[in-house]
Amino acid sequence: MPVTENWKPTIVAFCCNWCSYAGADLAGSSRLAYPADVKIIKVPCSCRVNPMFILRAFEKGADGVILCGCHPGDCHYSTGNYYARRRMTLLFSMLDYLGVEDGRTRVEWVSAAEGVKFSETMNSFVEKVRALGPNVRLGDLRCKN
């Protein structure tokens, strides 16, 4: 895909129902801008996101994937986000190790009251992924010519 001035990355944001999705809602109702290319997928808890979801999103064409959940200690289900945090830490470290997608993945804790944080997070993440360009490496990991 040719990268032009106007190229817009496709971003998938997994947001937990209780905090981050509500935070996204608040950002919307407060008319805080964040890029329209951010596709939000609502999940019951950040812990619902298994590493395959992230990989699948990349495979389906995402250029960046972000997971948002309640702040540690505030999980609606008490501890879900702690498990999610370990999994994502290991997954991101593995992706770095493979030389793919440094910066294309992120976890951010966003509460229902943090509409501003939600919008700022999305804006900065989109910018970062935009600078990286389209995601090709993960799909090419097994395709040496």
């Binding site: 395959m52 501890t79 030389g99 993960l138 990991l141 097994r142």
Partner: protein, 314 residues
């Protein structure tokens, strides 16, 4: 080796065990296979030598469902896998009579340095290889499996009795290779893994041999065919196979080295598992899967002050 056969015959004769799980002579001297022996007579084909790298723990999942006890021989590294399978309630300790066998390093046929091998004679520290193209010699140590150079130790983690003496084989650092890769630039890392992973033919041997990959339903089973063996079902799976598999066994992989041993393409699969192991040790405290039955697994526990994802690179 004779000690093992004698002891197996005794246990069979006394009725303490109903069968024996071990290694049997293969077509050649260098390719013994995993086998069940049901009577004393069949034990004439039993072998235990440098080529018996195969880890028998996984076979105990099925053997746990059989009537009576199974005598199983476990090398030190295999015993970690057995403990891990006990922890996951996949094997029944009561159904196993475990003889921990000594180990002095197992061999990697690919390191014999010959093609068309007809026979290999293990003569102490030297391997005498005869092939279609002539005879050659290799030092035992030089033909050892990678995992034996970084062996976790010669202590059996579970056993009823032990037989044969072990010998120390460690002469490399287990994480040196992972560290070497970590120090590369993203481009170098990518080029390295791309060149390795593009060799994969999706034979699924790494999954099939892996004690941790023993789920009754596996994500890599075909949904289209009622078959365990298959080519990829989706491009997603095809591309991400190694990452997904490594993640599925993260925190449960004992680093038994079987995946790397059986990969027909020689892909260093241990480098995936060991990356996770290294990260887990660094971030969540030293953890060795299969070393302890009670210890909490790193991915099913947490600390409130765990590191944030990607914290290293910010």
């Amino acid at each position: 080796m004779q000690e093992l056969i004698v002891r197996a015959k005794e246990l069979l004769a006394s009725g303490q065990v109903a069968r024996v799980l071990g290694w049997k002579k293969g077509e050649h001297s260098y390719d013994p296979e995993v086998a069940f022996f049901n009577d004393a007579e069949s034990l004439q084909d039993f072998v235990y030598d440098g080529f018996c790298g195969a880890n028998l723990s996984k076979y105990m999942i099925e053997a746990s469902k059989l009537e009576g006890k199974t005598l199983v021989f476990l090398k030190p590294c295999d015993s970690y896998s057995f403990v891990q399978l006990m922890k996951e309630h996949r094997v029944d300790r009561e159904k196993a009579y475990i003889i921990g066998v000594g180990c002095w390093g197992k061999l990697d046929v690919r390191k014999l340095g010959a093609e068309g091998i007809l026979d290999v004679e293990i003569a102490g520290d030297v391997l005498k290889v005869s092939s279609l193209y002539g005879d050659s010699e290799v030092a035992y140590k030089d033909a050892m499996l990678e995992r034996c150079h970084v062996c976790k130790g010669k202590e059996h983690k579970v056993f009823d009795e032990t037989l044969l003496e072990s010998a120390d084989t460690v002469d490399l650092d287990r994480f040196a290779e992972v560290e070497r890769i970590e120090a590369m630039s993203p481009e170098e890392k990518f080029a390295y893994f791309q060149s390795e992973l593009s060799k994969c033919i999706r034979c699924n041997a790494c999954r099939n041999v892996c004690p941790a990959c023993s789920c009754r339903k596996c994500v890599f089973d075909s949904t289209a065919f009622n078959s365990e063996q298959k080519a990829n079902t989706t491009s997603f799976e095809e591309k991400m196979f190694h990452i997904i598999r490594a993640f599925h066994v993260a925190g449960r992989c004992t680093d038994c080295g079987e995946c790397s041993r059986v990969c027909p393409q020689g892909i260093p699969l241990h480098l995936f598992n060991r990356k996770f192991i290294k990260d887990i040790n660094r971030l969540y405290g030293e953890y060795q899967a299969g070393a302890d039955l009670e210890e909490k697994a790193p991915l099913t526990s947490f600390q409130t002050d765990d590191a944030e994802p990607g914290a290293d690179r910010r």
